[in-house]
């Protein structure tokens, strides 16, 4: 029996469970940024952003490096690719389904109207 034991998954998923932190990862996926940049981008205090980055760093999703007075954040290694990619793929699959479901909802709504079954 193959064991899928990934202790880091726990910390990673806790880190990814927050919308701001996911946003930070997305941002860092495009370019490295300082904590000050990120705080401004997400309309947060420096302290608040430091906390988020700290959580991401502990999960191995982000690494930081202090150069002079500026702490620059960049994406951590593979953990991110694996887990975030899985979540994103899964989300895309549901998005495709739900787009198709939108079409059916619209159809049913139209039918509802033409049959005059609209309840008030």
């Amino acid at each position: 029996m193959v064991q899928y034991s990934h202790p880091r998954l726990d910390a990673s998923f806790a880190a990814l469970s927050d919308a701001t932190r996911r946003g930070v990862l997305q941002q860092l996926g495009q370019a490295d940024a300082s904590i000050t940049d990120l705080a401004a981008k997400f309309h947060m205090t420096l302290t608040g952003m430091k906390k988020h980055v700290g959580v991401l760093e502990q999960a191995g999703l982000v690494t930081t490096e202090k150069i002079g007075r500026v702490r620059t954040c960049k994406l951590g290694r593979r953990a991110l690719e694996q887990e975030a990619a899985w979540i994103e793929n899964y989300r895309q699959m549901w998005e495709a389904r739900f787009d198709a479901l939108d079409t059916i909802v619209e159809e049913l709504k139209r039918k509802d109207k033409t049959h005059g079954r609209k309840r008030k």
């Binding site: 990934h6 699959m93 549901w94 739900f98 787009d99 939108d102 909802v105």
Partner: protein
């Protein structure tokens, strides 16, 4: 990307979150009342159309759904990349129109129990789909193996398909 974005802007966003060790939650708002959205989940002929949209390239071999509390379902799919058709099956634990659907996923012993709620939001419907896995390991394994719903290769391939579709801008 420009034209695509304008159409995306009109769509309601789909979110996916791992809520705990054993739980995965998908949410989406629909522009119709729960009565209608529920119907699209509970009527087999409607459900089939959106569960496997054409873009997936997957076709039904068979689809049996007895949507009532205690009823069962069995969906069999085929895809060119699969040597054999793949079956998904389970039971409906609860069917409460138009607010709640609960079913089991029994193709593997590590399958989740899926609860879907339909919440009225002023004429729109918030759908929350909640997968509860038997153990933390079961969900970790589902993720680690790249599967999506339980332990299923079909959806892993589906994911690849979607990614490639996306990359090609189709």
């Amino acid at each position: 990307m420009g034209a695509k974005e304008s159409s995306l802007a009109m769509k309601n966003p789909t979110t996916v979150d791992r809520k705990s060790d054993r739980e995965l939650v998908v949410t989406r708002l629909f522009n119709g009342p729960p009565r209608i959205v529920f119907e699209a989940w509970a009527r087999p002929e409607l459900f089939q159309r959106w569960w496997l949209p054409k873009s997936f390239g997957i076709s039904y071999v068979s689809c049996e759904m007895d949507v009532r509390t205690g009823g069962s379902y069995r969906l069999v799919f085929s895809h060119p990349s699969l040597e054999q058709p793949k079956a998904f099956f389970g039971r409906y634990i609860e069917v409460t129109p138009p607010s709640r659907l609960v079913w089991t996923n029994e193709e593997s012993e590590d399958g989740a129990v899926t609860t879907v709620t339909f919440e009225d939001k002023g004429g729109k419907t918030l759908v929350v789909m909640h997968d509860l896995y038997p153990t933390k390991e079961a969900l970790d394994a589902a993720i680690a193996s790249g599967a999506t719903s339980g332990t299923d290769e079909t959806f892993a391939q589906l994911d690849e398909l979607l990614v490639s579709l996306d990359a090609s801008g189709a």
